[in-house]
Symmetry: C2
Subunit: 526 residues, 2 copies
């Protein structure tokens, strides 16, 4: 039986505040630094490893973090979650996204259905559908093959699938599994849909409409926009569209779609990449086998998150070091910096995952908490970021903890040797150099050229960004965010903070405004 | 004669700390709120307006900010800058990016040359070159027209031009001025170049190599990468490549390029979009006339920044309100949220512009400062962000000041009416609603559904995102960052914080490492 307590009521948290802090620049210098980097590493699934040598922790702090993990019952809460307890208390829902990629515990039966079987069934149906599209058994009205798949969705129905598509597009090209090109329409800005439609061949495109409720304003608007375009092109929209939605949604049993695939209320939008929300577009783009590899990587990483020993559980460790940085060291932000152009939109996905889950001020019982919760998350791929915002990270007045990701090998086959090294080696040399520059700094008589150091970072290192590795990476961050939510005693699975804006926007459109809202509406010509 | 002083030595700053703070939720409610929104607005160039009704200021605070502007001699320092004083003292350079789009003051002669004439000459040469390419007078070896332009550059040679290209691509499509498609290669990750090369027709592509020094590692590496690909395709690289560089760079007089266009040391990378760095790729993509319209918008906005009356100078006002938020209210981040899909990469450009300029801990004399300087900048377009990280912005434990941008009209011609409103109306209704939701909040018995409000924002409102409006927008933020640097007494025009990483990366590639750096290098297989 788990109990839910605020972080500031835990004895181990008080201990954590009192334990001596690490001088990172000192700790990371010389052979001591080398030993730290060798020792402070924990294997992840699919050949990845989480290295926290350059984090502002030591054995004493890790020891207290382990006590905190135990006192906050983190693995027990995870177990409760995957065994089907109602963890999303605000919306009175189970939290089952891990079940879309594996059976972690006991069978979970809800609404009279074995949920694992349900998710597998949906993936199987998607796989069959995708295979038929690729084989030319499902075609457009003229009997021609579809070449492009366009996802229409926003938030969790967009950022995760889009980041994953971009991450694997080049990998799929060289591995000959790029079956269809994917595009994404998300914004209610009409130029988003127009822009995408202007560059695709609509007659050979299949559109995936993704909305759990079937009521998302942006998505339904863009659906109409696309249907309009299809009709103007003399095409029958119902032959070009599939739906991913919940079984109870108005989209579920409509003749407007070639097919419908299902998710349910137990999969939050930002956690839905491994459900049908990601499954449909990614199986169409890369083939169902690639999507299955991605799921296998996520499932393997989910298994590791069960480990009770903090030093063997990378997601829990990452989570607790993050809590230490946020609540004891007082750092308000975290930057995610993948040294991989393929991961260019992965930070944007993590931004939603993290900030929408834990950007909250009340605990799971609706009581205000007296400590900082989720940080601001931002990031861009390296080495690009080095030539952009790293100036502030190195020499700014605030310290920003950093989360690097790097791979020993690139995805595509091309590389060149220039000045004695390949581009991939240059890329890796840069991330290694940055970690040490941030941690150790460098003295200089000219204060403008001095680096204080003491800026903590971790790095996840992998062999190559494959579908399996990407799945493991996604699971790592999902579980990190989940564990942090447990520590902060939040409900990480609702998002009441997005409601007020929706209500007011409806009021503007109905011209039922007064005060400041009316003036803004007038200024914007609505 | 201007004098340079730290912010915390100024009498008006002490006064600012003492002045009564605004309860924003209260101030923005009812008719008082409506009055604020009407009153707190200042016209910008090209029909834009900066509205700060929802910022946490009132007449008293604005009055002290005006004193601060005067005491810190902000407009005098701007005047010194555009009249050619050596403002970038660290690198001993003038700061002349405004001169690339207009003559703001006296002629500036440096290195024996009238610099305005020099920049105009370069734009003229670029225009002639672009016109010849478009007319088919400059072609590939087979005499065929070039259809694609690929910028090879990183940081300031990438983010600004890329953001501007994306911002105007759809506008150019409907206005029939999209002459060539543009692509961008930046990252040293070999998959970046491979990915771009795999999707373009290299035989009909012209590559713009952009490096001021001619020594940027990533850019030279990617140049070799591209040359390799051209040669493998049986093409002569020198017939497919132009250079944008300084006259003293090794690239300036090389036979490797069809043509070379020049910038100089007085244009910082992140301020170079209006120089040849942006000029070449954008003139090729959209035609020189469109680039000239963009410059005209920037020049008009630059003129407004001369205004000594704070309430009539949008860039200075935006800057000072930002300083108030950072140094008095203590907010560490700022989010940039354009309600325009075309501006999807504009926040990434502003992230560099701001964080690389003012992410510093020492003043312009190399002495440590005792107050926070540049904030972390991040953002994504709305409405997408609403379905992502807005949860934290509304209900998180930290307050993040917000910078909205919105336009009354969309760029492309398509729109649809659904449920009584167009997509563009829905987009605008959402930004209006968000501003009020953030400022006013909403009470609720269920604390989880309660919004505290008090979250400050401004909005720049325009008619339509045209080249002129985009130029004005860019100038606004460049000048905002410049004024903030003046207030914080920083040199906003150097970037010493990027050096250490470069030095260490070279050491890694030369295998001259020890300690932690050696272990990381081993872990990454370098």
């Amino acid at each position: 039986m788990v109990t839910w307590n605020n972080l500031d009521t835990l004895a181990s948290y008080k201990e954590l505040q009192a334990v001596e802090q690490v001088n990172l620049a000192e700790a990371m210098s010389g052979e001591n630094g080398a030993e730290r980097v060798k020792k402070y590493s924990v294997p992840m699934a699919e050949g990845l490893a989480y290295n926290y040598g350059a984090k502002q922790v030591d054995d004493n702090i890790l020891n207290v973090l382990a006590k905190l993990a135990e006192e906050a019952q983190l693995t027990e809460k995870y177990e409760a979650l995957y065994n089907g307890e109602m963890i999303n208390t605000g919306e009175k829902r189970l939290v089952l996204h891990q079940l879309t990629r594996g059976q972690l515990g006991e069978p979970v039966v809800a609404d009279g259905v074995d949920k694992r079987a349900f998710y597998v069934e949906q993936q199987t149906k998607i796989a069959e559908f995708a295979n038929k599209v690729h084989a030319g058994e499902i075609t457009n009205a003229a009997g021609e093959k579809f070449t492009t798949v366009v996802q229409i969705g926003i938030g969790g129905s967009d950022l995760g699938p889009r980041a994953i598509y971009i991450a694997l597009e080049n990998w799929a090209k060289v591995n000959d599994t790029l079956k269809m090109k994917a595009e994404f329409i998300s914004n209610v800005d009409p130029d988003d849909a127009s822009g995408v439609l202007s560059k695709i061949d609509v007659a050979h495109s299949i559109f995936v409409l993704v909305s759990k409720s079937g009521t998302t304003l942006e998505t339904l608007t863009n659906e109409s926009f696309v249907k309009d375009a299809l009709e103007k092109a003399g095409l029958d929209p119902s032959k070009h569209m599939i739906a991913v939605t919940s079984e109870t949604s108005p989209l579920a049993k409509s003749d407007d779609y070639l097919a419908a695939f299902f998710m349910d209320d137990y999969i939050g939008g930002r956690y839905s990449s491994s459900s049908a929300v990601g499954g449909a577009v990614l199986s169409l783009a890369f083939g169902p086998e690639v999507f299955a590899q991605f799921l296998a990587g996520a499932a393997a990483e989910d298994e590791l998150a069960k480990e009770k020993d903090l030093l063997k559980n990378p997601a829990m460790l990452d989570a607790l070091i993050g809590v230490y940085e946020r609540n004891v060291l007082g750092y308000p932000d975290t930057a995610v910096l993948p040294y991989s152009q393929a991961l260019s939109r992965f930070p944007a996905h993590l931004q939603q995952l993290d900030m929408e889950s834990n950007g909250k001020s009340v605990n799971r019982f609706g009581e205000p908490v007296n400590y900082p919760t989720g940080p601001v998350i931002f990031g861009e791929p390296g080495t690009n970021g080095q030539h952009s915002f790293y100036q502030l990270l190195h020499q700014g007045t605030d310290i920003v903890p950093l989360q690097f990701v790097g791979f020993k090998n690139n995805q595509m086959e091309q590389d060149v040797v220039i000045q004695g090294s390949t581009s991939q080696q240059k890329l890796c040399a840069n991330v290694a150099a940055q970690i040490v520059a941030f941690a150790c700094g460098k003295d200089d008589e000219n204060r403008n050229k001095k680096f204080e150091g003491g800026r903590p970072s971790s790095i996840i290192i992998g062999e190559k960004l494959t579908p399996e590795a990407l799945g493991a990476l996604l699971s790592h961050f999902e579980n990190k965010v989940m564990f942090q939510g447990f520590v902060w005693n939040l409900n990480s699975f609702d998002q009441e903070g997005v409601q007020l804006g929706k209500v007011l926007a409806k009021r503007v459109l109905a011209h039922e405004t007064d005060g400041a809202l009316k003036v803004y509406s007038d200024l914007l010509n609505i």
